[in-house]
C-alpha cells in the first residue's frame, strides 16, 4: 500500500479546502501569538504536497523503535583502526616485513601506494590495553574512551566498497558512491518526521582536526536531501553570528517590529489566498511562522554560556571554544535534549598518509575526551537509552606503511576491507566487541558488516525496516541501503 497516497487521502481535500477558505491564515496568526506544538502541527500537516513532511511519511514506525534520535560523530578521513581499536600483536612481531601476498590476495590498492616497491608491515607505536569488564582493546590514544568501554559496542569488522574519500564518505552517508541520493538524516526526517517543530530535524556541525588541519574537504551534498523534499535537508549549525544561515534579522531591524511585520505579511498573504484560492499560500504562511520560531529556538539551543563549569570540565578544555569538536559535542547533547532527530557532526583530519603518530595524536586529543563525555553526559541525563551515538569514519587504513617505516614514524594508506567504528546507547548492546579481522588486520575473518548492513541496523533501531522506507524517483523505488543490507541482530540489545 502506498503510504504517500494515504497521507494525501487523509488530508481530505474537501475538509482541507473548506478550512483554507475559512482562512487558515487566522490559525497562523493564532499560532504566532501562542506558538504551541499542536497549532504548529495542525499547520504543518497542510504543508504536505506529495510527501509526508512534518509528520513523516511512515506515520508510525514499522516496529517498536529502540532509539528516537541519532548523534553521528563522523570522523572524516579514515581513522586508523590499527592505532585505536584493532590490536594486532602479529604486526609487532613482523614489523618491517613485506605484506604477504597470501594476505593481500591481489586486492586493489589506491594509486598512492600501488606503485610502492614494498609494503612494510607497520605495527602501531601506541600501547594497547584492555579496558572495562568487557576487556575491550584500546590504545593509549584513547584514555577517555577506554573509560566508557563498557558502554560502547566496538565493531571491528566494518567494510566498504570505495577506496577514495569522496566516494567512500558519500557511500556512508547516502548508501551510494555517486552524489545525488539523500543522506541518512534526510531519510529519517522523511520517514519519521520531526519531534521538534522549532528546530531543523537534521542538524549538522563541523569541526577541523588539529592533527591534520589541511586534510580532506567536506561537501555540503553530504547532508543533502537528494530527491527528497528540501524540508529534509541537513541544516548546518555554525558558530558565530548566524548559527543558521540568514537566521538573524538584518542590522537595524527591531525584533518587535519584525514580528508585527510578519503579522502584516500573513494578513496580506491571506487576502491573496482568498482571491486566488491556491492552498500553497497557506503553506507559505506556516513556513514564515516556523522561520520566526527558529529565530528564537536556534540561538537558545546554541547558547552554551549557561552550561555549568563541570560540563566544560567534563568535555575538556576545547569545549569552551566555539566551533571545536568538543564544543559541538555539548551542542549535540543540547540538540538531543530538544528532540532533534538526527545530529550529524563531522570532524575533519583523520587522513594519515604520513606522520601518522604525530597527526593521529592530535586527532585523538580533539575527540577522545569529548566523545566519552558525551556518552557519560547522555547517560546521566537518561538520554542514552533512546539516543544512538555512532563514532567512525569512511574507511580504515592499511597495515603496511605508506612511505618509509621508521622506529617512530609511518603512514597508512586507505583500507576499505576492514575498519572499526563504535556505537553506544539507543538499543545497541553495550560492552561488546563485534567481528574479527585476521592476524594482520587486513581481511575480516568473522562477522563482516557492510556499510549497507550498518545502515540497515541503524534504521532498524529507529523502528524502520530499511527495505520499506522507499521513495519512488525516476521510475524506481530508492532506499538508503540501495539493493542490499541486512540488520545485524547481534548488535542489538
Amino acid at each position: 500500500m502506498c503510504e504517500i497516497e494515504d497521507l494525501q487521502y487523509n488530508m481530505n481535500r474537501r475538509h482541507f479546502f473548506s478550512k483554507a477558505s475559512l482562512g487558515l491564515g487566522s490559525v497562523a496568526l493564532a499560532s504566532m501569538l501562542n506558538p504551541t506544538k499542536s497549532a504548529a502541527k495542525a499547520l504543518s500537516s497542510f504543508s504536505a504536497t506529495s510527501e509526508g513532511l512534518s509528520n513523516g511519511v511512515l506515520r508510525s514506525p514499522h516496529h517498536l523503535p529502540k532509539a528516537k534520535r541519532i548523534i553521528y560523530l563522523f570522523q572524516s578521513g579514515g581513522p586508523s583502526q590499527l592505532d585505536l581499536f584493532d590490536y594486532k600483536p602479529v604486526l609487532e612481531k613482523r614489523r618491517g616485513e613485506d605484506l604477504p601476498a597470501s594476505v593481500r590476495m591481489g586486492q586493489r590498492l589506491t594509486g598512492m601506494t600501488s606503485g610502492q616497491a614494498s609494503f612494510p608491515l607497520a605495527s602501531s607505536i601506541f600501547k594497547f590495553d584492555q579496558f572495562g569488564d568487557s576487556g575491550a582493546w584500546m590504545s593509549s590514544l584513547l584514555p577517555y574512551t577506554s573509560q566508557i568501554a563498557d558502554d560502547i559496542c566496538v565493531v571491528k569488522s566494518m567494510y566498504t566498497e570505495a577506496i577514495n574519500h569522496d566516494p567512500a564518505i558519500t557511500f556512508f552517508q547516502t548508501g551510494h558512491q555517486q552524489a545525488g541520493r539523500p543522506s541518512i538524516g534526510s531519510w529519517l526526517s522523511y520517514g519519521l518526521g520531526s519531534d521538534n517543530e522549532n528546530l531543523p530535524n537534521f542538524s549538522v556541525l563541523l569541526s577541523r582536526g588539529t592533527g591534520r588541519p589541511q586534510g580532506q574537504p567536506l561537501y555540503s551534498r553530504l547532508w543533502g536531501n537528494g530527491f527528497l523534499h528540501s524540508l529534509h535537508q541537513g541544516v548546518q549549525f555554525r558558530s558565530g553570528k548566524d548559527p543558521v544561515l540568514y537566521l538573524n534579522n538584518p542590522s537595524g531591524i527591531n525584533p518587535q517590529n519584525r514580528r508585527a511585520m510578519l503579522n502584516n505579511l500573513a494578513e496580506l498573504n491571506e487576502m491573496y489566498l482568498k482571491e486566488v484560492g491556491d492552498p500553497e499560500i497557506t503553506t507559505r504562511i506556516a513556513q514564515y511562522e516556523m522561520a520566526y520560531r527558529m529565530q528564537t529556538s536556534v540561538p537558545e539551543a546554541m547558547d552554551i554560556s549557561n552550561e555549568p563549569d563541570w560540563v566544560f570540565k567534563m568535555y575538556g578544555p576545547d569545549s569552551a571554544v566555539p566551533g571545536t569538536y568538543a564544543a559541538n559535542c555539548i551542542l549535540a547533547r543540547r540538540l538531543a535534549e530538544r528532540d532533534v532527530k538526527f545530529i550529524q557532526l563531522y570532524h575533519m583530519g583523520w587522513d594519515q598518509h604520513e606522520n601518522l603518530p604525530n597527526q593521529i595524536s592530535g586527532q585523538a586529543r580533539d575527540t577522545d575526551q569529548a566523545s566519552a563525555a558525551l556518552i557519560k553526559d547522555l547517560k546521566q541525563r537518561g538520554l542514552l537509552e533512546d539516543t544512538l551515538v555512532i563514532w567512525g569514519g569512511e574507511f580504515g587504513r592499511t597495515n603496511y606503511s605508506q612511505g618509509t617505516l621508521t622506529e617512530t614514524n609511518y603512514g597508512r594508506d586507505h583500507h576499505p576491507r576492514c575498519f572499526s567504528i563504535w556505537m553506544a546507547g539507543g538499543g545497541v548492546k553495550p560492552g561488546i566487541s563485534y567481528g574479527e579481522t585476521d592476524d594482520f588486520g587486513y581481511n575480516i575473518v568473522k562477522d563482516p558488516v557492510h556499510v549497507h548492513d550498518f545502515q540497515a541496523t541503524l534504521l532498524h533501531l529507529l523502528g524502520i525496516d530499511h527495505e520499506r522506507l522507499t521513495f519512488k524517483h525516476q521510475g524506481r523505488r530508492y532506499r538508503l541501503t540501495d539493493v542490499s543490507g541486512k540488520v545485524v541482530n547481534d548488535l542489538i540489545a
Binding site: T49, G111, S220, L247, G252, E280, Q287, M290, K472
Partner: protein
C-alpha cells in the same frame, strides 16, 4: 486519422475517469492506491497502455520483466510473447488467456489468498489493490489486447479535436485542451488581467519581471495584436537566451568547479555563453543538439561548433590523489551516456549499466553500445590540480569574440570533446564494474527505440543523426514536454526524466504529439514553439481557482486554469535585483561571486582547492549580475539558491523540486542581497514614488507586482510604514545600520528614517506569496 487511433483507440482515453487519471499521473506516480479508489467505477473499455501496463510495470516487471537474471519462474510480462506463452514444466499453463479469466494464471495468482502463491509475494512489500485486480480481470475478459509502449510508437500528426466552444480557441493547443475539458464538463477560466499576462510572459520568456513602463505600455495598447507584439518583443530580447540557458545549464550539469573532493576551479563559462547566443540566434534545435554532441566531428568544424561540445565535458571530474584512473574515466563516459538518456530520450538508461533494465526494453548491451559512442575521448580519469584537462581548445578573441566576453584579451582554454584516431575497445561491463570486461560491443543505439541504420557512421555524428531522426519517437516528445513544463510547471508527461514504463502517462497525449510534430515541421524552431505555447488561450487563462475546481483538479492536470508556481532560485534573486534597479544586465563573461555568508568555503576545504579555498566576493558589478552567472562550486553551492531548490549540478537534471520551507523565508527576509535590493528600491520610492505615503507605497507595490494594491492592502502596508517610520525616527542609528547593508552606496540626501521604513515596506512586498509566485 491513424496517429490518434493507433495508440488511443478512439476515445478510450477520454472515457477514463478523471480520478483514475489524477491517480495515474499525480504526485504519487503509479503507486498503488488506497481504499478510496476501490469503490471507483471501472472504465468501460480497459486500455493496456493507460490502465494495465502501469500496474504490471510497477508491481510485476522487477521479477517478470526485461531483466533475464532477475526473472522468476521463467515468466515475463513485459512482452506480448511472454504474457501469452505457455509456462510451467508441462507447458500447459498460460499467464494470460484472452477472454478466459479462469485459465489465466495471472488472475489466479493475484487473487490467491495463499501466501505461497499470491502475487506480488508478500516479501516484495508490493501489493495490488482490489481496484487494480478488477481492472486486470476486466482487461483479460475484454480480450487482453496488447499494445506497444506509448512513447515508443512513432509520431504521426494527430487530428485536431472538434470543440463546442470554438470562440475560445486561439491556436490548436486549445483544441486539445478544450476538448478534454468539455468531456469532463469543465469550462476554461477567463483570461488573466493584462498585468498578470505581461508579468507571466516576461518571467517565463526572459526570467525577469516587466518594468512599470512596460506594464503601462502594454495595458494602454488596445490593438488586437498587443499581446503578440509583447511576445515577439520578449522572444527577441537578449534575456530570452539567458532564460533558456538557465534551464539548459541544469540539463548540461554546468558548473565552475570539478565537483569531486578538493573540487578545483574549471573554466567552462565560454560554453555557457555559446548556449545563450545559440538560443538568442534561435539556432535550429537539431543543430543545437548536433553541435553539442558531435560538433568536433562535423566536416571542417568551426571553433564555435567545437566549443559547443564542451556540453559533454561539464560532468564532474576528480583530482583526488590515489584514484584508479580507469574507474573514473568509465564514470565520465557513463555520465555522458546517462545524460543522453535523460536529456534527449527521457529514459533512465543508467538502470542498464549494471544489469538489464528492470522496466524498459533496454538491455545492458544496449547501454554499452551507446556508451561506446562516448568512449573514445583522449582523456584521463585523473584531472590535474592546475591547468585544463585534455582534450581542450584554445579560444582566441579573433575567432569567437562575438560569443565569448574575453577578459584581458587573453586566450581562454577549456575542455571540449575530441575523438581518438582508433576507438577504444568497448565491452559490456559486468555488474557495471570498470574492470569486469564482458562481451565486446560496437557503437549502436537501442533498437527498441529506433533501429540504428547501417549507413550511419558509428560515431557521435551517427548518434546525433539517430537522435534527431524524425522517426525517433522520443527526442522531440521529450523536448517539447520540457518546454511545456517551463510554462506550466508540470509537463504533459509529469516525469520528464522518464518516458518509459515506470514514467507517468501523458495527460494530453495527442497534444504532446501535435507539439512534437509541429516542432519538427517548423525545422526545430524553438522560438516558434514558445510562441505557440504562450499565445494559446490555455496559457492566457487566469490562475485563480475556486473551491470546486480545485477539489476536482488540485494539480491543474486538465488545464482549466492558468499556470501558477513558485519562481526558481535564479528568478527570485534576479527579480529583486531587477525591480530595485541594481541588476547589471550584461551578457556573458566569467562567473561572479555575489554576497555569501562568510567562511562557507573555507570551513569545508581540505589541503587542496587552489583558487577556491576562500570565497572572494566580487566587487561592484559582480554583485548584481543575473544569477545564472553566479559561480557554481559544486561541493559548496550558493546556499541561498540551494534553499530554493536549485539543482546541485552534479548530474543532468530535467526537473527541479518546487518546495516551501522555513529556510526560504529566512533568505528572503534576511539575506543582504534582498535587504539591499529592498533598500535600493526604497530609495527610488522616496525619490520617484510620488508625494503621499499612499502613492509611494503604490509605486513600490506596482513596481514589484505589476498591479495596483487594493485599499485593504494599501492600509496594511501603510500600517507597516507608520510603525517603522516611527520606530526609525526614534532610533536613527538603527535606520542607518539598515541602510548601510550592501555595497551599493546609500544616497545620504534622503531621510534615513523614511527610507529605512520604506525598505521594510518593500521587503514585505518582496516576501508576498504573490511576488515569489508566477501566477
Amino acid at each position: 486519422m491513424q496517429g490518434k487511433k493507433s495508440w488511443l483507440e478512439g476515445q478510450i482515453f477520454m472515457t477514463i475517469s478523471l480520478l483514475l487519471l489524477a491517480f495515474l499521473i499525480g504526485a504519487c506516480g503509479n503507486e498503488s492506491g488506497s481504499s478510496k479508489y476501490d469503490k471507483k467505477k471501472l472504465p468501460d473499455l480497459v486500455d493496456f497502455n493507460f490502465h494495465i501496463k502501469p500496474i504490471l510495470s510497477d508491481r510485476c516487471f522487477a521479477c517478470h520483466g526485461p531483466d533475464a537474471n532477475a526473472r522468476e519462474g521463467d515468466l515475463r510480462l513485459d512482452t506480448e510473447e511472454g504474457a501469452f506463452a505457455a509456462i510451467g514444466e508441462n507447458k500447459d499453463r498460460f499467464p494470460i488467456v484472452p477472454g478466459d479469466l479462469k485459465s489465466s494464471q495471472v488472475h489466479y495468482r493475484i487473487t490467491s489468498d495463499d501466501p505461497e502463491e499470491k502475487m506480488p509475494p508478500p516479501e516484495s512489500n508490493l501489493s495490488l489493490t482490489d481496484y487494480e485486480i478488477k481492472l486486470i480481470d476486466k482487461w483479460i475478459e475484454q480480450g487482453a489486447e496488447w499494445k506497444k509502449h506509448w512513447s515508443f510508437i512513432p509520431l504521426k500528426e494527430p487530428d485536431l479535436p472538434v470543440v463546442e466552444q470554438e470562440d475560445w480557441v486561439r491556436n490548436p493547443i486549445d483544441n486539445f485542451v478544450l476538448s478534454r475539458l468539455e468531456k469532463e464538463g469543465l469550462k476554461p477560466t477567463g483570461e488573466a488581467t493584462k498585468e498578470t499576462l505581461i508579468r507571466r510572459a516576461s518571467l517565463d520568456i526572459t526570467g525577469l519581471p516587466p518594468t512599470l513602463e512596460e506594464v503601462d505600455a502594454f495595458v494602454e495598447d488596445t490593438s488586437p495584436n498587443a499581446y503578440e507584439k509583447l511576445v515577439d518583443r520578449l522572444l527577441d530580447s537578449p534575456a530570452y537566451g539567458e532564460r533558456m540557458a538557465m534551464e539548459w545549464m541544469d540539463v548540461a550539469r554546468y558548473a565552475d568547479s570539478h565537483g569531486y573532493q578538493d573540487d578545483v576551479e574549471r573554466v567552462m563559462w565560454p560554453w555557457r555563453d555559446w548556449v545563450i547566443k545559440a538560443f538568442n540566434k534561435n539556432l535550429p534545435f537539431d543543430d543545437f543538439i548536433e553541435w553539442q554532441i558531435a560538433g568536433d566531428l562535423l566536416e571542417n568544424p568551426t571553433t564555435e561548433q567545437i566549443l559547443a561540445t564542451a556540453f559533454n565535458r561539464n560532468h564532474m571530474i576528480t583530482q583526488e590523489g590515489g584514484i584508479i584512473e580507469e574507474e573514473y574515466r568509465v564514470e565520465y563516459v557513463a555520465d555522458r551516456t546517462n545524460t543522453t538518456g535523460k536529456a534527449f530520450l527521457g529514459l533512465t538508461l543508467e538502470c542498464a549499466r549494471c544489469h538489464e533494465h528492470k522496466y524498459d526494453p533496454i538491455s545492458q548491451k544496449d547501454y554499452y553500445q551507446l556508451f561506446a559512442f562516448y568512449n573514445n575521448v583522449p582523456e584521463r580519469g585523473l584531472a590535474p590540480y592546475q591547468g585544463v584537462p585534455d582534450p581542450k581548445i584554445t579560444l582566441t578573441k579573433e575567432e569567437v569574440s562575438d560569443i565569448v566576453s574575453f577578459v584581458d584579451e587573453q586566450p581562454i582554454e577549456l575542455m571540449v570533446m575530441s575523438e581518438m584516431d582508433e576507438p577504444r575497445d568497448c565491452f559490456v561491463l559486468v555488474r557495471g564494474g570498470y574492470e569486469n570486461h564482458g562481451e565486446k560491443v560496437e557503437a549502436s543505439a537501442p533498437k527498441a527505440i529506433l533501429e540504428f541504420a547501417d549507413d550511419l557512421p558509428k560515431n557521435r555524428i551517427g548518434l546525433v543523426k539517430w537522435l534527431t531522426d524524425e522517426k525517433n519517437p522520443l527526442t522531440t516528445r521529450v523536448l517539447v514536454n520540457r518546454y511545456w513544463q517551463l510554462y506550466f510547471g508540470t509537463g504533459i508527461v509529469s516525469t520528464p526524466e522518464d518516458f518509459g514504463n515506470q514514467g507517468a502517462l501523458p495527460s494530453h497525449p495527442e497534444l504532446l504529439d501535435w507539439l512534437a510534430w509541429e516542432f519538427i515541421k517548423s525545422g526545430w524552431d524553438l522560438k516558434a514553439l514558445h510562441k505557440l505555447i504562450v499565445t494559446s488561450a490555455t496559457y492566457r487563462q487566469s490562475s485563480q481557482v475556486d473551491d470546486e475546481l480545485y477539489e476536482y483538479d488540485p494539480q491543474n492536470i486538465l488545464l482549466a486554469r492558468g499556470p501558477r508556481h513558485r519562481l526558481s532560485a535564479e528568478m527570485l534573486r534576479d527579480y529583486a535585483l531587477s525591480v530595485s534597479g541594481l541588476l547589471v544586465d550584461r551578457l556573458g563573461g566569467p562567473s561572479v561571486k555575489p554576497y555569501q555568508p562568510e567562511g562557507l568555503w573555507a570551513e569545508k576545504i581540505g589541503g587542496g582547492g587552489g583558487s577556491l579555498v576562500r570565497y572572494k566576493q566580487s566587487e561592484g558589478e559582480g554583485l548584481y549580475r543575473k544569477s545564472l552567472y553566479t559561480f557554481w562550486k559544486r561541493t559548496v553551492p550558493p546556499p541561498s539558491m540551494m534553499t530554493f531548490d536549485a539543482s546541485e549540478r552534479n548530474v543532468c537534471t530535467v526537473k527541479r523540486q518546487s518546495t516551501s520551507t522555513p529556510l526560504q523565508a529566512l533568505v528572503l527576509l534576511n539575506d543582504p542581497q534582498y535587504t539591499e535590493a529592498s533598500r535600493v528600491l526604497a530609495e527610488r520610492v522616496v525619490k520617484e514614488g510620488g508625494n503621499s505615503i499612499e502613492d509611494k507605497i503604490q509605486y513600490a507595490f506596482r513596481t514589484t507586482t505589476a498591479r495596483y494594491a487594493n485599499e485593504d492592502e494599501l492600509a496594511i502596508l501603510k500600517e507597516v510604514f507608520d510603525r517603522e517610520y516611527q520606530g526609525f525616527n526614534e532610533d536613527k542609528e538603527s535606520a542607518e545600520q539598515l541602510l548601510l547593508i550592501g555595497e551599493h552606496i546609500f544616497d545620504n540626501k534622503l531621510d534615513p528614517a523614511e527610507t529605512a521604513a520604506y525598505t521594510v515596506v518593500v521587503n514585505t512586498i518582496f516576501n508576498l506569496s504573490e511576488t515569489i509566485t508566477k501566477g
